[in-house]
Symmetry: C2
Subunit: 312 residues, 2 copies
Amino acid sequence: MATLVVPNQTSPLEDAEALHKAFKGWGADNKAIIAILGHRNVSQRQEIRKAYEELFQEDLIKRLESEISGDFEKAVYRWMLEPADRDAVLANVAIRNGNKDYNVVVEIACVLSAEELLEMRRAYHNRYKRSLEEDVAANTTGNLRQLLVGLVSIFRYEGDEVNARLAQTEANILHESVKEKKGNYEEVIRILTTRSKTQLVATFNRYRDEHAISISKKLLDQTSDDFHKALHTAIRCINDHKKYYEKVLRHAIKKFGTDEDGLSRVVVTRAEKDLKDIKGLYYKRNSVHLEDAVAKDISGDYKKFILTLLGK
Amino acid sequence: MATLVVPNQTSPLEDAEALHKAFKGWGADNKAIIAILGHRNVSQRQEIRKAYEELFQEDLIKRLESEISGDFEKAVYRWMLEPADRDAVLANVAIRNGNKDYNVVVEIACVLSAEELLEMRRAYHNRYKRSLEEDVAANTTGNLRQLLVGLVSIFRYEGDEVNARLAQTEANILHESVKEKKGNYEEVIRILTTRSKTQLVATFNRYRDEHAISISKKLLDQTSDDFHKALHTAIRCINDHKKYYEKVLRHAIKKFGTDEDGLSRVVVTRAEKDLKDIKGLYYKRNSVHLEDAVAKDISGDYKKFILTLLGK
């Protein structure tokens, strides 16, 4: 379930005018910006953007960028983009940042549905005049390239069918490949980048049944190069993306100095989808409410905005 | 340009009734079947199928399969499917036939537009309850797998932009990889499975400028294993798919005993698109009209149907 709180009736025209008023004078009225945009769903935000453009012949997102700044600006900017476009931006930034951020690419590729991933690849074309797979491939080599290109390119089958024998065979293949530190990963990559998620979850379950450890935990024993990290993230996202996001939040907050990018990414991306469930998992794991942890960790308008999206 | 000849006005209802009549009695009236279906475009054929189902509570395609046989049946069956569905069937049959037919998979992946390829992958899900990349990957290994999975999975950027420096760099990479018989093909695969077609044609042109031979001809010097054949087909299809199809037709006819699968595939797939251009290329290359060559080579209702689609 979502955390976003949206009033029953809203008017894109009135919202656009209120935002325009909030931009007047020296320094924007950030409270008003948060009160409006922090309580509008994706189609309402797009309507406000359209209304604003028609009323004031100006792009609302550009104006926001010039009015606000820092982590607050970044979070609002991402919140204002359509989801496919936002993910395209996140993926592009991640590729340019290299190694440590490949996980963001894996996360997007493995959490989105087949049609959503495709919509994101379309948005990537429009925005960057290149394909996502092109940029991923040009920045990586070897196993990491094969895994990432495969993950961003797959149009996964989404039926419910499970082939139990195949799950057994491929659980064995995974075991053979990861049991040694310098395994041959060709088959592991094939399995992860082609099978349906339902089938993969069955395979991961078979693995756990036989080896009394989850394949993702087993991978943690391996060398933690970029490839193994990406593999680990892929398996976690496919297995249970909500638990994965809980961990991203936990690490983002626990970090010395907060990882604002990670925090904003999860909150902005999931607020309209399943952030309430993720909050539940967070509380269960940390015995503290996510809002309280966030409130202690960040400050100012950024904090107000994130807490608003968290449904506070 | 197309070769298919379609009358100005047609009625799906009348067509369905006429077909039903043609099926009456012992042995179908194949002439009537050809006179109708051989002169209807893709949307008209789908409308006839719908009208037939409504009128007679029977699937027209299934009925056709029971009424006619041999190469004629196979060609009519493929002609009756929607293009995306037809390509899904062609790809599936090709994968099951293995090695020699991987070229069909490459051809489909490299000739279709990004959106058409995607539509085909959707059709593959619907029909086989698996993804195309899944079946391709499960039946291949090594370089061949990487190339084929990359080609069927790419959502190619289709803008007109050419990066001339990149074309130069990647022409050099291609040269380095193919100059030795046992080259390292990782980068070749990356380039072919990620760059836009416009960019690739620029790269192939740079290669020819510098080495006085086209990259596809150069590849013919190499060992002709499945991987090299697939590579060769991919480059030809991306560079000039009409010339590629002319060659498929030439080989299909020249063969001892005709390759009906190849002949039907090209005629059925291109009749509504650019078969007139392909016919022109055929005449230029062989100094004989494609219709005449075909007429000499095949016979019966199959021949009548193929010639009808060829616009005779």
